[in-house]
Structures are given as C-alpha cells and as structure tokens.
C-alpha cells in the first residue's frame, strides 16, 4: 500500500503526449477553476459550468474527472475509489486514465493522497488539511426528486425556500416512522444552501462537518460544480423529535473486525449465508496489516483483493 511511481513518461515532452496534460485543454481547465473558485466562495451553491464531453460516458464520473483534470499537477498523488474500494472496475479505469494523461503517482493509501476522487463514499480515515476530495455526482439537485423543473428549483435555492424538503421528510416519518433517506441524505451548508452530498450513505454525512479538506462536487451531465470549503458547517436535516442518525450494524467487519466502518454485505451462497466487510478497501487492508482480525479473517475474499492490488503495482 505505498505510492506507485508515476508511470512511463515523467515530465514527458508535450509533443510526446497524445493529448494535453491531464486531457483537458488549458482554456477549459481555466473555466473549470473559475467555477471551482465561485463554488468555494458560495458554499453549497451549484455553479453551472460548460461541462465537456469526456472519453468516459456521462454518469460514469465525467464531473469528477473534469474537476480532477482542472486541479491535478505532476506533484500530486492520486487515489480513486468507487463504493469505497480502490479495486472496483470504474475506479481502476479512472485511476489508469490519470496515471496516463497526467503522469501522476497513484496510491490506495488515503493519508498519502493529495487528491481523492470518489463515487458514493468518504474514506473512513479522517481527511487532513491540504487534501482535496473530489466527488462524482449523478444528480446535483437535492430537490430534483420533489420538483422536476430546474427553473423552479433554482428559484427555491435563491429564496432559500426549503419547506418542500421538510414536508417530504415529515411525510417519511408519517409513512415509515422515520426519515427514509439512506444515501444522498440532504444537508444544509453553512445554514444557507441545501446540498446533495452525492449518493454517499448518510453514514458519511457527519464526516463533512468542519472537515479540514476541500470537498469538491462535480456533475458532468448536469453541468454543475459545487463545494464545501474547509471548516464549513454541514448539517444533515432532521427534526428535534426525530434527530438525524447514521447507519449501524450488529455485525463487525468479517475480515478486519472493525466496528466503526461502513459495511458491505457479501452474499456467500444461495442459502442465506452472508458476511459483512468494510466498504473502504484500504481501511480494511490497513487494519489487517496491523494485525486486526475479524471472525472470518483469512477468507478467500481478502486474498483476492491482495492479489489484484499486487498486480496493479
């Protein structure tokens, strides 16, 4: 789990590159950086930007890739996860993309990374000052499920008119006895803008509050960028009598024994057998390396992950 050296062409001459450094042309990068600065200046506000067609499909991380492309430099160390794991196919594909077009070192180690691109998770290990977290966002508008029209939702944000959102949470409580949102749970940024944290599980919501890292959110297809600057208040919506709560499990991670991480359920057979393992693959591997062991330590799943990680190096 150490930093992989930048491959092939460190400081490759421009004429040797098939594309511009980090793929996007400099004008586009500048346009995206302006949008990022605006997003940081107005925490939680969705900044429209001239999203480009990328060589991966919309919905597969085009927003996150454009953000990373606009901020990455040869000195950066890049980590890319999907569902918390470094070895999911789309994360592998995006990591390989930046290793190729940005000659950048890659890592699986959360603390070593300067840029962490993610789909659906915030790593378990707390982020530090100087790190940038880039989220891939399918639907930037937290109110879209309640109001399909962009013209309407923009007006609702402008007037901070979020009554509809609270009514929806109230309806949850009357139907289910609790707030039903489990992932993409709406948050209020600095008590001004309602924001979708991208579909991270609500388990990760408290990690955003007063986080020392920069949190950038990019939605390529919907052409929006938004941000949570370091040390910003992030409040998950709730009611006094129905306070916000995160997920918890009766089980611990079967491989590393962690009882404080987000768990994925792994189906073992068709007879109802299953095990729970950390969704954050690096967190889990790191704990195992340090000697922690869960009830199914040594299970084949652990070996396969190591094998894949070894091959990628």
């Amino acid at each position: 789990m150490t930093v992989t050296e930048a491959p092939a062409r460190p400081n490759a001459a421009p004429e040797d590159r098939y594309y511009t450094y980090a793929y996007l042309d400099e004008q586009t990068k500048r346009m995206i950086r302006r949008a990022i600065l605006k997003a940081l200046a107005i925490p939680g506000y969705q900044v429209p930007f001239g999203s480009r067609e990328m060589p991966v499909p919309y919905g597969w991380g085009t927003g996150g890739i454009q953000l990373t492309a606009a901020i990455i430099g040869p000195e950066d160390v890049y980590k890319c996860i999907d569902q918390g794991a470094d070895d999911t196919t789309n994360a592998v594909s995006i990591r390989r993309f930046f290793a190729t077009v940005a000659d950048v070192a890659t890592t699986e180690d959360t603390s070593e990374a300067t840029i962490i691109q993610s789909r659906h998770r915030i790593p378990e290990q707390p982020l530090a000052d100087g790190q940038i977290m880039v989220f891939q966002v399918p639907q930037p508008e937290p109110l879209r499920g309640l109001e399909p029209r962009e013209t309407e939702t923009r007006a609702m944000h402008a007037y901070a008119e979020y009554g509809l959102q609270y009514v929806s949470l109230y309806e949850n409580i009357s139907a289910y006895g609790r707030i039903a949102a489990t992932a993409g749970y709406p948050v209020m940024i600095d008590e001004r803008y309602l924001m979708s944290p991208s579909p991270i599980p609500k388990f990760d919501n408290p990690k955003m509050h007063m986080n020392p890292a920069i949190l950038l959110f990019g939605a390529g297809r919907e052409k929006r960028i938004y941000a949570v600057p370091p040390f910003t208040r992030v409040r998950s919506l709730d009611f006094e009598d129905y306070p916000f709560e995160t997920q918890s499990w009766d089980e611990v991670c079967a491989l590393c024994g962690a009882n404080d991480s987000y768990l994925d359920e792994v189906v073992l057979d068709d007879k109802g057998q299953h095990m729970f393992v950390c969704s954050d693959s690096h967190y889990c591997a790191d704990r195992r390396e340090k000697g922690h062991a869960g009830p199914m330590a040594g299970h084949a799943l652990a070996h396969i992950e190591t094998e894949i990680a070894a091959e990628e190096v």
């Binding site: 999203s51 919905g59 597969w60 993409g184 579909p199 799943l301």
Partner: protein, 377 residues
C-alpha cells in the same frame, strides 16, 4: 465466487477489451470492412453520426461506426469525445440554404412550387421488398440514373420567398450576426431557451426521441397541425472570414437537409393571421430527423406565440434536457456500475421496515388469540 467478478482489476478490463476487439472483427474468413466502404455504402448512418455528433467529417464518422460495431449512439459518443478536444479558430458565416445546390426538393403545400418538385435519391415510393440481388456478392452492376437535359436553376425559391409577396407566412426571423450564437458545447443548458439554443439542442438531439415527440404532437399531444412547406437536400457552401485575411473564403460544400414545416394561423389584434413555421436542419441526408426537428421546434415556440401547452413536446425543459442521446445513454447505462453502498443502505432500511411489519402482525395475532381465548372461556 460471483461477488469477486464485480470487483475487477486492470487485467479484467484489458481482457474484456481484447475480447471486444475480437467480436468487433467477427468471423475472420469474411473480409474486413474498410472505413471507406462504410463512408460510401452506409452513408446515411455516417450522416446521422455527424449530425448528432455535431462534427462534419465523414471519415471520422465512418471510423467511429466501425469502432462501435455499428452502434450509432456509441459512434456519436466517440465522435463527440473527439470533437470536444479540437481547438476552435472561429465561427463560419451563416450558411445560405437558398443557394443550395439542390439534389432533392419537395413541397407538400404547392403542386407547382416554382422550380418544381425534385425527387432525388429517395426511399419514398420504393416498394419495401428485400432486394436479393444485393445479397449476391460482387459483379452487381448499378445502372446509372438518367441525367435530365433540363438544367437545374442555381437558386430554387424557398417556401418563404414563394409566400413573401402576400405575407401569408411569417418572415425569416432576423439574426443578429454581431452576437455569438449560444453554444451548448461550451455553455450549460439555460432556461428560458432562446431560438439558437433550442435549435442547436434539437440538431444534436436523438433522432428517435425527436421522431416520437413529433409523432406524439401529430396524434394530438400538443398538435401544431403541421404541413410540410418544403424539404430540400443538397450541398451548401460554408464560408469563413479569417481575421488575418479580412474577407470571406469558401471552406467546403456540405450536403445538408432542411425542412420548413408550416403551422397554424397565429393572429392577434395587432397582427393579421398568417402561417407560422418550425425549422429543421441536419448534416447530410436525413429527412426523418429534419422533419421531426421542425415539428418539435414549432411546438416549442408556444411561449413566443402565446400558446398554452401542456403536452410533452411543448415543454422545453422536458424536451431539451432529455433529447441528447450521449447524456441519456450514459446515465441510463451507469446503472451497471456498482451501487452496493447505496443498496446496503436501502437493504438495511427495508429489513427494518419488514421486521416492524412482521412484529406488528405477530403482536396483532397474539392479541387476537388472547381475545378469542378470553371469549371462549
């Protein structure tokens, strides 16, 4: 173990793509298609890829079709992803379709439209019988079409010019050429959308989506009572004025299809009733797309013409946000990506609800049993 297949490494991706290459090639005892063959013999597919790919380059479009194994939305995506990397050195002067070197031109409004009806190379009036002569490989002679002795006029009057003296049809909207047209490839969609933004979105829009919308309009879901004023297809010259020259030079002649759809009699206290129109324009030869586009364009002019419409084809947010095949295809297919973090969150919630449901049932049953026991005693 099935689960592991979902977590794939670099090797799995590479192998999958190698296999894709093999499947793309197909049976190697059959000769490989060349890009030139696709360009020449699948020209309507090439035209569609160029139109929705927003990039006029028949060779690149043919290459994209070959690479995409004939999947046109995939080919459109390939061409778009290439196009977006190209530097821009300026905008052409607006093309003048009135000066088109017409190969085909039909009007459903006038039998004797000045300049006449020109059928051109069309599927119309062919009998859709499979032609097994085409299945025979090689040696199939294509008889040349007879060349008319009558010379085509260099300019065919447009439907607007035909109507001009009577004012029966609204005039050409004045284009402010000093202003840069809206460019969706550089700016995000914004509402309310002006004509330039709308027409660009429709020109890039998915043919199938626009066709269905136009059809729904015809069937009464926001009808515009369309009448095909004119369709013309042929080559249009494209001019460009480089800053360093200061005068216009001709860059290319591009085949294009244009459709003007007549519709409704808009009139008000101030304005005499007259025909309004919808406009469609595509690269290459694609009448289905140009006609659909013109019907949808007209339907979307409701706000401007003071019509109150609720049908899908009249709703610009609905139409313009959902017409792009690259966006739609990407987002629908992103559901293939793992969602097990969200799924786990959902599953946990669902299990809790079910537990509560069954607990409540069990409790109710126990109470009922106790009650019955009491009654029996």
């Amino acid at each position: 173990m099935a689960y592991v297949a979902v977590k794939g490494g670099e090797r799995a991706i590479t192998n999958a793509h190698t296999w894709l290459g093999e499947v793309r090639r197909g049976d190697t005892s059959v000769p490989e298609l060349s890009v030139a063959q696709i360009r020449e013999q699948m020209s309507l597919a090439v035209d569609r890829v160029m139109a929705e790919g927003s990039c006029y380059d028949p060779d690149l479009a043919a290459l994209a079709i070959k690479q995409a194994r004939g999947d046109l939305p995939e080919a459109i995506f390939l061409l778009r992803a290439y196009r977006t990397t190209l530097p821009r050195f300026g905008a052409t002067t607006p093309i003048e379709t009135a000066n088109m070197a017409v190969q085909r031109r039909v009007s459903a409004a006038f039998k004797d439209i000045p300049g006449g009806q020109v059928l051109g190379p069309t599927f119309d009036y062919t009998h859709r019988l499979l032609d097994f002569k085409l299945a025979a490989e090689g040696g199939h002679e294509v008889p040349p079409a007879q060349v008319s002795e009558e010379i085509m006029p260099t300019q065919l009057a447009t439907i607007a010019q035909v109507f001009a003296h009577e004012g029966l049809l609204e005039g050409d909207p004045v284009t402010d050429t000093s202003e840069q047209p809206y460019d969706l490839t550089r700016e995000p969609m914004a509402f309310p959308a002006d004509r330039d933004q709308r027409l660009q979105a429709l020109a890039r829009g998915d043919e199938g989506f626009l066709l269905s919308l136009a059809y729904s309009s015809q069937r009464g879901w926001g009808s515009t009572h369309p009448l095909c004023g004119e369709i013309r297809m042929g080559e249009v010259s494209v001019g460009f004025t480089p800053d360093e020259l200061g005068f216009e030079i001709e860059l290319a002649d591009l085949p294009m299809t244009e459709c003007i759809m007549l519709s409704g009699f808009a009139g008000s206290a101030e304005q005499a009733p007259q025909y309004t129109r919808g406009y469609g324009l595509t690269f290459g030869h694609n009448e289905r797309k140009a006609m659909s586009m013109s019907i949808v364009d007209r339907a979307l002019r409701g706000r401007e013409l003071g019509e109150e419409g609720q049908a899908p084809c009249q709703d610009e947010e609905f139409v313009l946000y959902h017409s792009d095949v690259v966006e739609a295809s990407g987002f629908v297919q992103h559901l293939k990506l793992p969602h097990y973090v969200d799924f786990q969150a959902d599953l946990q919630f669902l299990r809790r609800l079910r537990r509560e449901f069954f607990d409540a049932k069990a409790k109710a049953l126990a109470e009922q049993t106790a009650h019955m026991k009491e009654a029996a005693e």
